[in-house]
Symmetry: C2
Subunit: 242 residues, 2 copies
């Protein structure tokens, strides 16, 4: 049996010394990877952010990525080359990547041209360089322009419709009812078999309130990272023999 | 004798799950802290980024910070309360912090009002919330507005004119001549006694090309983090007895 797990937070490059990062430590994903790897005849591949925590079992194959672009490439590679029974997509993926920067001074001069404001605004940004670079810090006010990244989770069932997919939804400071509603929307949109819904304000070290929701809309509540990892394994392994 | 060291990279909050971070690992700063702490009668205080590497000597007092605002508070506290003989400011400090965000849709509607474009633009951003929050990812194009942060290094000699100050300058892919020139400007502007000048493209693990420049404009070249740490200690300790 083969399991693919993504964990940690992606990081979108601004220049050679700065990035926009997602805070995820990758701890829950690495616990999930370790727990699957202890089952007999289960091969685990983990796509992990460079700076995130790693599982302890050396039998787990680890692929490191930084940006959403690298993540998409590796997820696609894996799903095209190998047939996975279960995919747990716990990585915190940047919603945006940086496309341009402009100083206030540059914006003033560029927006002065005779174009519609928005068109002028969008043309007023300098593209992000892939060459070694560091943004100048000479201007007092700086503007960043960001574009939405493609949704990695939508790729998974497109490439492997037969895999059991566990999606993750993290929101901040909302009611259980609203969280479950949003998780169900993620499930429907991306054809997930399970969604682990959690709220940042209810996570602190190993204490971690999580709702694992199945296709029937039923959910089980867990209160620690270890319990969430075990719950994901029990529910995704139901009826399987390894 | 008392030494204050700053190390690691600051991180400017976007919302509860994202930040703009500086890549610094804090490794050079923690080597410097360890090296000073091995001298007799030297007390070392390290102000370190939360996610950065820590020194091995448990006698070093460690204060953790995340944002530039927290760094300023702690540096000010330390320098007001304690007299330091040497201050090594190696922390990679964010040049900008985020002041507002706007979706393209919000900008279109807000810029449509009858104001001058730049005034409208600056009023078109929603302020960053200090409440628990996560930016919505519903818009395709997003804009960030950032303001320059105060220069932490300029505080040090203002608060303790008698301390020996080591500043750091990191640039990317420039000539040795230009790097030394920029380092001398930093020295003059902030009344540094030494500046360690380095180029991101010449740093790879322990290999680390650094020029330690003194007030006379003379510089010594080092090629590893360990050698830079030892060089800083030798040069700042010259003529001192502990």
């Amino acid at each position: 049996m083969r399991v693919l797990i993504t964990a940690g937070g992606t990081s979108e490059r601004i220049d050679d010394v700065r990035a926009i990062t997602n805070f995820s430590t990758g701890r829950l994903g690495s616990l999930v990877a370790d727990a699957y790897s202890q089952l007999a005849d289960v091969d685990v591949t983990l796509i992990s952010a460079k700076r995130s925590l790693k599982p302890s079992n050396p039998a787990i194959r680890i692929i490191e990525v930084e940006s959403v672009q690298e993540l998409i490439m590796e997820v696609t590679n894996q799903l095209e080359q190998t047939s996975f029974d279960i995919v747990v997509h716990s990585m915190a993926v940047s919603d945006y990547y940086l496309t341009g920067t402009a100083s206030q001074e540059a914006l003033i001069s560029r927006l002065g041209k005779n174009k519609s404001v928005l068109e002028a605004l969008n043309q007023a940004f300098d593209p992000i360089s892939s060459e070694p670079s560091k943004l100048s810090s000479q201007t007092e006010t700086m503007y960043f322009q960001l574009q939405q990244t493609p949704k990695v989770i939508s790729l998974i069932k497109q490439l492997q419709p037969g895999a059991c997919l566990v999606g993750f939804k993290l929101l901040v400071d909302i009611s259980e009812k609203h969280l479950v509603k949003v998780a169900k929307e993620l499930m429907a949109k991306n054809d997930c078999d399970f969604v682990l819904a959690n709220d940042k304000t209810r996570i602190s070290g190993d204490e971690h309130l999580g709702y694992l929701i199945n296709r029937q809309g039923e959910f089980t509540t867990y209160t620690s990272k270890q319990a969430i990892a075990q719950g994901i394994i029990e529910q995704t392994m139901k009826g399987r023999t390894t």
